[in-house]
């Protein structure tokens, strides 16, 4: 039988945690169907068929004597002793697990012994269940699913508040994934709205985030958007994994675009992205190499009493730039 390709001492720590924290009793099937040693193998075969099971522990009252598996039934059919009793042909003193053992034991046992199921005993040596490789697979898949969901949640939105009352969020963008494109910016806009920032300021930040996000989806192999908000400013860092912008200066000129018709048909690629980010931000820097492009954009948040005044000046500047 093939080994379970899992090392219970040297695997990723999350998986190790799972197989050491889960107990056999969390994984096993309880309420096991059993048979007395006097029962014929034929009757056990019918029992298996009826219950849809592949192994039956053989009991003497409360005491576990042995195990009859599907293999034993096949052997019996082959060799013509299917009408004989279970007691004569069972696997005696089967390898058992205890209900409080960690799941890692079951995985080790599957590798160590040629069996696919192990009866489970309580501390008092009473039969309480049975563990098959199917039980283990099902439970591990469920645990892995929950764990990965939790990790993904953390990946998409780092909601841990860090010192100085600043708020961090991280978003993933994927190449040509227009289904997701804009989700990060929508999320960012929601946060800003919740923080009660002035509408115009929100628009500038949202526009910068959206342009950077669309750029990553359209032009890069995918990347990350890091959003940091504190009382003084918003910082957006858009870092992708390549292929880089060959001529950064040209990319910053309005109307310069390397987008194809297909991207244009989606409403983008007019060569306005980066110039527009630069226009709406207070500080803008870009570095690019074939390994990736990093854009850092900062938008200052004026103190509440200055907000009215500052807004007017900023608009004035923008009007001049427009002309």
């Amino acid at each position: 039988m093939k080994r379970v390709p899992f090392d219970t001492s040297d695997s990723p720590s999350i998986l190790l945690e799972m197989v050491h924290q889960l107990k056999i009793k969390d994984v096993m099937t309880g309420g096991v169907t059993t048979a007395e040693k006097s029962m014929s193998l034929r009757d056990i075969q019918n029992l298996m068929k009826k219950q849809g099971i592949t192994g039956v522990p053989i009991m003497d009252g409360d005491r576990l004597l042995g195990l009859i598996s599907m293999n034993d039934i096949i052997e019996a059919l082959d060799n013509g002793y299917i009408e004989e009793s279970a007691g004569e042909h069972m696997t005696r003193r089967p390898i058992v697990l205890e209900e409080d053992m960690p799941l890692s034991f079951a995985i080790e046992y599957l590798n160590k012994f040629p069996y696919r199921r192990f009866p489970v005993l309580s501390k008092e040596k009473m039969l309480v269940g049975i563990v098959t490789n199917r039980d283990i697979v099902n439970r591990l898949l469920l645990e892995a699913k929950n764990e990965i969901e939790r990790l993904e949640e953390n990946l998409h939105s780092h909601s841990a508040d860090v010192p100085h009352g600043s708020l961090h969020r991280e978003f993933i963008t994927q190449r040509f994934n227009f289904e997701r494109a804009g989700k990060a910016s929508t999320e960012i806009k929601k946060i800003l709205k919740k923080h009660g920032l002035p509408r115009k300021l929100i628009r500038r930040i949202a526009v910068a985030a959206y342009e950077l996000e669309i750029n990553q989806v359209v032009h890069s192999k995918g990347g990350k958007m890091l959003f940091v908000l504190n009382e003084e400013r918003v910082e957006i860092t858009a870092a992708d994994t390549g292929p880089g912008i060959p001529d950064v200066e040209a990319a910053l000129r309005e109307g310069f675009s390397t987008a194809n018709d297909w991207i244009r048909s989606l409403g983008f690629g007019a060569g306005m992205g980066l110039p527009n980010v630069k226009r709406v931000t207070d500080d803008f820097s870009i570095t690019s190499s074939p390994q990736g492009t990093v854009v850092h954009a900062v938008i200052e948040i004026p103190p509440p009493e200055e907000q009215e005044e500052k807004k007017k000046t900023k608009e004035g500047e923008e009007h001049r730039e427009d002309q």
Partner: protein, 114 residues
Amino acid sequence: MTLEEMKKALQGTIIYDNGEEENIEDVVASDLMSDVLVVEKDDEFILLTSLASDQAVRTADIVGAAGVILVNGKNPQPGLKKLAEEMEIPLMSTPRSSFEACIILGRAMGRCQG
């Protein structure tokens, strides 16, 4: 001009209405979202476009547009309707072309002389 008035003027169909009675005073007409993203407007405005993709509604949300009008009788995909509902961005479709719709709305808003 309210969304309802626009609907009448444009013989449009409202696909989603957020129930807010905004007084819309301006129109941004473009199929290029890149151009919409550079718009600076103080007044409530509506986005008029023939781009019936998710990005039309997303862009409208980002720039704070009061809604989206799809011209040339474009019918949105179910996904777009859902997105409009999620973002609470009113969405309307009109059989009028972009040029016709602009003239009709411009006149109704008193923006066309003569």
